[in-house]
Symmetry: C2
Subunit: 191 residues, 2 copies
């Protein structure tokens, strides 16, 4: 059973990467995974859910890479903004990520998956590499800035953000992320 699920996920990841969310069908994923299409539906409910599960490990892995980078010549916030822009600037992924954000904003089930990513998966996987206090709050704050940034750059298309260079965005937004992740906590907020 775990194997079937994993096989469907691997097939979905390959199909999404190759053809994007819109062009990929249940049938193709099922065929690539060598299972019945009904089984794909049984495990994953909707294409957005399946896509989310398929890229969840990619996202977490990318976050782990950022947070385990001990060379540390760049501030952590700059590294994180770079990594997020890398993730989104790949054209294959972008269409699917936009679809995911749209689904997350309008579909409660997908919103729940996104909540889990930011409130549980990421804090538990990267938390040990950061200051130990208020890790959920810090990751959630980072999420607010990153979600707003990718919405403005890739979904809504605010010109100043959509046309800015990567270097500019890293330099403008990186310090925000660094502060959220590293500033000393006080009774009410951060110093």
């Amino acid at each position: 059973m775990g194997d079937t699920r994993a096989r469907i996920l691997a097939a979905a990841r390959a199909q999404f990467a190759h053809k994007g969310l819109e062009q990929t069908t249940w049938r193709e994923i099922a065929r690539a995974a060598e299972v019945d299409p009904a089984l794909v539906l049984h495990y994953f409910e909707s294409k957005e859910t399946l896509f989310f599960e398929a890229i969840r490990e990619i996202i977490i892995h990318q976050m782990e890479t950022v947070f385990s980078n001990t060379r540390g010549t760049q501030p952590i916030g700059d590294q994180l903004v770079s990594a997020i822009l890398d993730l989104w600037d790949s054209p294959d992924r972008r269409e699917a990520l936009v679809a995911l954000v749209r689904a997350g904003v309008s579909n409660d089930r997908v919103a729940g998956l996104i909540r889990g990513l930011f409130e549980s998966d990421i804090p538990s996987r990267v938390g040990a590499r950061l200051v130990a206090d208020r890790i959920e709050q810090r990751v959630a704050l980072v999420a607010t800035q990153i979600i707003g940034l990718v919405l403005a750059r890739y979904v809504v298309g605010l010109p100043s953000i959509a046309t800015a260079s990567r270097e500019t965005l890293v330099s403008l937004v990186g310090p925000t992320i660094t502060r959220y992740l590293t500033a000393a906590a006080t009774a009410r907020g951060f110093s």
Copy 2:
């Protein structure tokens, strides 16, 4: 013609405030404005567009109030976060604002209206009260953080953000906004 449009907007604003976006119908707005329902559709295309136009002045007015506040005991970013939370914490408005955000993320026409708000209306109305350089970029950066904050608090419901007190959020996010609005510009970003 300008009068008819203004009358429809006033009627829509009253209906939305009273009943929310979902419960308000074209017919009721038309009746309150004393025009034919087809005329409402002619001027405004969709309920989201009409709603956007109806609250646009409220949003701009609120931003002007923040930016013209010369008492200045609180940093500008703290004042702005407070004002945004005020705008959203009114239950009547919240449902409609959530509908607006959802429409903005999935509907290109509404996304265009939101782009205009952040790239033109707000900079031109509040720009004179701020440092003069890169005002569009500054407002767009503020927009990324504010959009992410309201999405996390009111739409997706990230627990750490949704349950935080107003004071906590002001103290955590206010300094980000202050930096985006007031930090000295350098070649690539802000100091």
